[in-house]
Every structure is written in C-alpha cells, then in structure tokens.
C-alpha cells in the first residue's frame, strides 16, 4: 500500500501551535518544552512509545489537562483559559466512550443538542454524519448491539457532526482486530480527505502513523524528537531513536574520518571496513557518529572462492562491501530476513524480497556471503 503522501496544499495556514509546552506531574516531566505547529487540513500523527507524552499533549489540546508552562494556540487564539466544552476541537476516545444509555442517533445528536441546534437541522446533520461513517439506518440501535468497529464509527460521527476545526483521535485503531484495523486505516484517511478537517492522531504504532499521516511528530520521554513526513522519518531520521523506532535499522557506530561536502567516510570498528556515504555532515572529524542502514537497503550475494568481485558502480571499491556468514534466516513469504554475522562478530539484519518463486532457495544457513550497499543508502546520525 503506497503511503498517501498528499502534495502539500498551497499556502498552508497554521491552525494549532504548541509554544514551549511543558507538563509536570509532581517531579515527573510528561511533556518537556514541546513547540510544534500543525497546519490546516493536515492529517497529523503524534507517534511514540507508551509514556512518551503524546496522549498528554493531545489531552492538553482538548482541554482535559492544563500545561504547566507554555501556551496552546488554536487559530491564533490562546486557549489556555478555555474549558474543554468551549474548544473548537472534538475527540474520539480510545474506549470510544459511546454513551451506553443512548441510541446511536441520540449519541450523535448529543453535541448538537447541547449547542441548541434545532430539531430539524439536528436530524439532518445526524443523518449526514451517520452516512459519512457508513452507518445509515443504525440510528435507533443501542451501542451494546454494535460491534467494536461500529461503535468507533459512532464516536467518529458524534465528533464530526459538530464540524470541529480539529478532530483528535486517541489511539483510534488500537482496540480493533488486525484486519479491521487495516481497513479503517484507509477509511479514516479517505474520511479526512472528504471532510477536510484537520485530524490529529495519537498512536504508538509506527505502521499506522506512516500509512495514514501527512506528517508525524515522534516523541520520546516527553521530548519532541523529529517532525517530518513519513518518508522523511524513515529515510532521513535525525537521531538513533527515530531511526530505531521507525522500522528496522542496523546502526553502526564509528568515527568520522572524512567529511567533504559531497561525501563522508566513517571508520567503524563494528563493520571492519570504512563506510562510504555520498553526503557530508556538519560534524567535527574524529567525532563519534552512527551510520543507519535499513535491512532492505543491503544487498546479499554469494561468496565463493574464485567468484567474481561485486561490481560497485556507485561507491569506490572496498568501501561498502563486507564479508559475512548467514547465522539465521527467516522465510516470511514475501521476503526473507537474514541475520548475517560479519567477521568482526557484529550481526547485521538484511531483508531480501522474494522476486521469483525460487529466490528463497538461493541462500541457506552458514553460507558465506557478501553484503553491499549503495553510498546513498546509509543515513549518518550524530545523535
């Protein structure tokens, strides 16, 4: 499934900005000096391991928590003093929080009733909202007659019917089973496209964030690590944490030996050969850096005595070729995952797509191999 990378909509307007937000619970710092802007119409994702502060950030936006320091602007207006029931945002809760004693229609109508919307308009908008989430005709049902997925749709309709400026989603897919989750991913992105409302989703599932969001903010221990598009997060992580958290990665520690504008070389004792990169960094020569290489960006070749050397058009010979032995392999159908131990003893993960039906028979346990990668494949990290 291709990531729905929407082209940046022409002059994007900032709808939400967090300015130096800090939240402390006693001595525990849940959110640490986070500054972040979210643009109108965006599908934004707050991503991070549990306890990283992403949910706290979302709840502060909804008004259920107050920041210890800093301020939050919605449409340029400071909302610090505004209680949750007066904010132009609506939330889909993790447990969906569908009112159990009300019918589906009453649930969806609740927010409108509170606002004093007339009965006729209210009924129309409820119909419209139920149609939007594909729950036409479910109005008279009670929530306990619905499945988990349907209850979530009710929660979505109930929030969207109020036409909020921003829709907040707290781990919206975590309570669904795997198959439904896949389906809801694309449905949610389609829905967001249709209604054009800014969505902010909290998730700990990186696949979910990559598949759905226009932009993601990765958080760890209350700190904002990186804000970028999904592909930038994956291909150009700014730290070892992000590289490791998003997808799989081989991280090689080394010293920066050469640093030119168009290339750099890392001496890595772990790999045993210098790592050549086609881009430079702003770092002092000799400082410790890390090369992050994704498993699917490493090619694997048979290594037999007398065999031809590997042709490396993109990198100077000897730089990005290293010898190793397969110590473990896992056939996963679409791909095979190899654990290759280098001569230095360092283990490297390699993923190889099974392009034909016979590919899986190419390599086996304890086979000597060459590993190689392009000079543009590794990302150099300084943190």
């Amino acid at each position: 499934m291709p990531a729905p990378q929407k082209a940046a909509k022409a002059p994007a307007k900032t709808i939400i900005s967090f300015e130096n937000i800090t939240k402390r619970y006693g001595k525990v710092v849940a959110v640490d000096n986070v500054s972040l802007t979210i643009e109108e119409g965006e599908f934004f994702s707050l991503l991070g391991p549990s306890g990283c502060g992403k949910t706290t950030l979302l709840r502060m936006l909804a008004g259920f928590e107050t920041p210890t320091e800093g301020r939050i602007l919605i449409d340029g207006q400071d909302v610090s003093e505004i209680p949750p029931n007066k904010r132009p945002v609506n939330m889909v809760f993790q447990s969906y929080a569908v009112f159990p004693h009300m019918t589906v229609a009453q649930n969806v109508a609740y927010g409108l009733k509170v606002d004093g919307v007339g009965a006729k308009e209210c009924a129309e908008r409820v119909e419209e909202a139920l149609a939007l989430v594909k729950l036409e005709g479910y109005g008279p049902r009670k929530p306990d007659q619905l499945s988990g997925g349907q209850r979530q749709r009710v929660a979505l309709a109930r929030a969207l019917v109020k036409r909020p400026r921003v829709l907040l989603l707290d781990e919206p897919l975590s309570a669904l089973d795997a198959k439904l989750r896949e389906q809801m991913r694309s449905e949610l992105t389609q829905l967001q496209d249709k209604v054009g409302i800014t969505f902010i989703m909290v998730t700990h599932d990186q696949d979910e964030a990559l598949a759905m969001a226009c932009r993601c903010a990765v958080m760890n221990r209350g700190l904002l690590q990186q804000v970028a598009t999904p592909s930038d997060l994956y291909e150009f992580p700014n730290s070892r944490f992000v590289a490791d958290f998003i997808g799989q990665v081989n991280l090689f520690e080394g010293q920066l030996a050469v640093d030119e504008p168009d290339h750099a070389v890392i001496d890595s004792a772990e790999v045993g050969v210098p790592i050549y990169l086609d881009h430079g960094v702003t770092g002092a020569t000799g400082s410790t850096v890390w090369a992050a290489i994704r498993p699917e960006k490493i090619e694997i070749y048979k290594r037999i005595d007398g065999a031809d050397m590997i042709k490396m058009e993109d990198a100077p010979q000897g730089h990005n070729v290293v010898a190793g032995t397969i110590t473990h392999l896992a056939y996963l159908g679409s791909e095979t995952v190899f654990d290759v131990t280098l001569e230095t003893g360092r283990s490297v993960k390699v993923v190889r797509s099974n392009l034909t039906r016979w590919d899986q028979e190419d390599f086996s346990w304890d086979e000597p191999v060459w590993l190689s990668w392009h000079a543009c494949s590794p990302a150099m990290l300084t943190a």
Binding site: M91, Q94, A97, F99, P100, H101, Y110, D144, R151
Partner: protein
C-alpha cells in the same frame, strides 16, 4: 432432553444432586417461608386466638381497615418511608459522588464515619437519637402532621443514606471516565454531564438504594421506638403494642397487607430497573 448415557458424579457444589445439600436447601426454604406463609394463613383464621384453625374469614381484614389508630400508624410509616427514601437517595448519591470524584483532606475519616450507622448496633443508635432529641435538639410537640414525624424521619435518614451511598459508590467504580470527558468534549457543562451521563450510569444503583432505604425505614422498630411519641406511632411500633396484649389475627391481617404491598413494590422496582439495567448497565468495554 435426551438422557445422558452415563451421568458423571455430582460436583461438590451441585446442590440439586447431593442429598446433604438438598436437605440444606429444603431447610432454608422451610425456615424462610413457612413462618411467613403461616402468618398469612392465620390472618384468615376465624378465631380470636391464633392457635387452632377454626375456619376461613375475612373479618379481621375488615377490622384492620376500621382500626383508626392502626391505619394512622400505617399512614405514618408510609409517609416516613417515602420522605426518608427521597432524602436518603439524594444525600447518599451526593455523598457517593463526593467520595468517588474528589480527593480531599479527611476523606478516609468521612468514608469511615459514613459506614458508622451501618455497623453501630441499632439499640445504641436508638438511645443516641432519644438523647439527642431530648437534650440537644428537642423536637417541638404539637406540630401538624407530617411535621410531627420530623424526629423519626431525621433518624431514619441518618441510618438509611449510608446504605444508598455504599451501593451508589460501588456502581460508580465501574464508570468509564472517558464518558464524562466525551460529554464535556461535545460541549456539555458540569451539570449537564452529571444529568446526561453520570446519573444514567448511576440509575440502577439509585433504584436499588431507594428500595433499600424504603424497606429499612418501613420496618424499623428499635430506633423508631425511641424517637416516637404518643401521637407519632408507626406501623411496627403499633403492631408491637398490639402483640403485647395478644397475637390476634388482626395483627396477621395487617402484616399480610404489608408483605403483599412490599412484594408488589419490589417487583415493580426490579422490573423497572431490569429494563434499564440492560441498556445503561455497563460501561463500554475498552477492549471490545
């Protein structure tokens, strides 16, 4: 149903298939219901003394319905129970909300103090009430009905509302806080949230608490005995004074009316609660 070819040995608690437990079951049933049934049966007994069955009659029911002071006592009891139930439910629910929702200094003390009327022996409560209304806050005599019942009503409320609070609080433990947040998120204020989300969730426990308070008040004898005056006699107190002379079928008839009334009320309450408990009974399972 087809008979199973070979029946397995009964489990340790299969009381219908083990004779000691069967005997136990029979004994419980007998001792629970036999006295009640005897009482009802003898209300139709055509005899002044309540010992031998002489024949069927309804005259004691007539007599009961003509007994002015018994009817007054019955009316007093129902009035006291109704007011006590209403106030206890409101007070109990509010106490439960307070204890469930907020953290404050002395919370544990309040929690414990609230359970006090449940654990303190009734006789002590009775004496305490007697002293209180005699010395500390004498209830003025000669007030018009139902104000003359004030002392009894206050003492009934003081021992009933903790029961309501306990029941409601247990119910609130299963409340999903996100429901409250969802209501606020959709624009509801504090009061609206309580009305639209919290009270509907509480409702089964409110009904149960009200039932409890009503029955507790209706049949309380000990505490009422110490707080009632000559012109404020309740049904249990009246029955007691009648029994002191002799157990006439009239007492049986009055008791039968009360039992039937209570059973009907309870059945109605349970039925009312039953339909709503299905819909509003449980918080959505977050893992569903």
């Amino acid at each position: 149903m087809t008979k199973r070819p070979k029946q397995a040995a009964p489990g340790p608690l299969e009381y219908l298939r083990r004779w000691p437990l069967q005997a136990w079951l029979v004994m419980v049933t007998v001792f629970l219901y036999a006295p009640l049934l005897t009482l009802m049966a003898f209300s139709f007994n055509d005899s002044k003394r309540n010992i031998v069955w002489k024949g069927f009659t309804l005259k004691y029911y007539e007599k009961v319905l003509q007994n002015e002071s018994l009817l007054t006592a019955f009316g007093n009891s129902l009035t006291i129970a109704a007011i006590c139930t209403l106030v206890s439910v409101i007070l109990g629910a509010m106490t439960a909300l307070l204890l469930w929702r907020f953290r404050f200094g002395g919370k544990t003390v309040l929690d414990g103090a609230m359970a006090l009327p449940i654990v303190v022996p009734e006789i002590c409560m009775g004496v305490a009430m007697l002293v209180f209304f005699a010395k500390v806050m004498p209830w003025p005599g000669g007030l018009p009905w139902p104000l003359n019942l004030g002392a009894i009503i206050i003492s009934h409320i003081s021992f009933s509302f903790p029961f309501v609070a306990v029941v409601v609080r247990a119910r609130m433990a299963s409340f999903n806080r996100e429901l409250e947040e969802a209501a606020k998120d959709l624009g509801a204020g504090e009061w609206m949230t309580i009305r639209d989300v919290i009270i509907p969730h509480m409702q089964p426990s409110l009904v149960a608490g009200a039932l409890l308070a009503f029955t507790l008040s209706l049949d309380d004898f000990v505490i009422t005995f110490f707080t009632s005056g000559p012109d404020t006699v309740t049904f249990p107190v009246k029955v007691y004074s009648m029994v002191r002379f002799s157990v006439t079928p009239e007492v049986n008839a009055a008791s039968t009316i009360l039992i039937v009334l209570t059973v009907i009320l309870t059945a109605l309450a349970l039925r009312f609660q039953g339909t709503d408990a299905v819909a509003g009974g449980h918080a959505p399972d977050p893992k569903a």
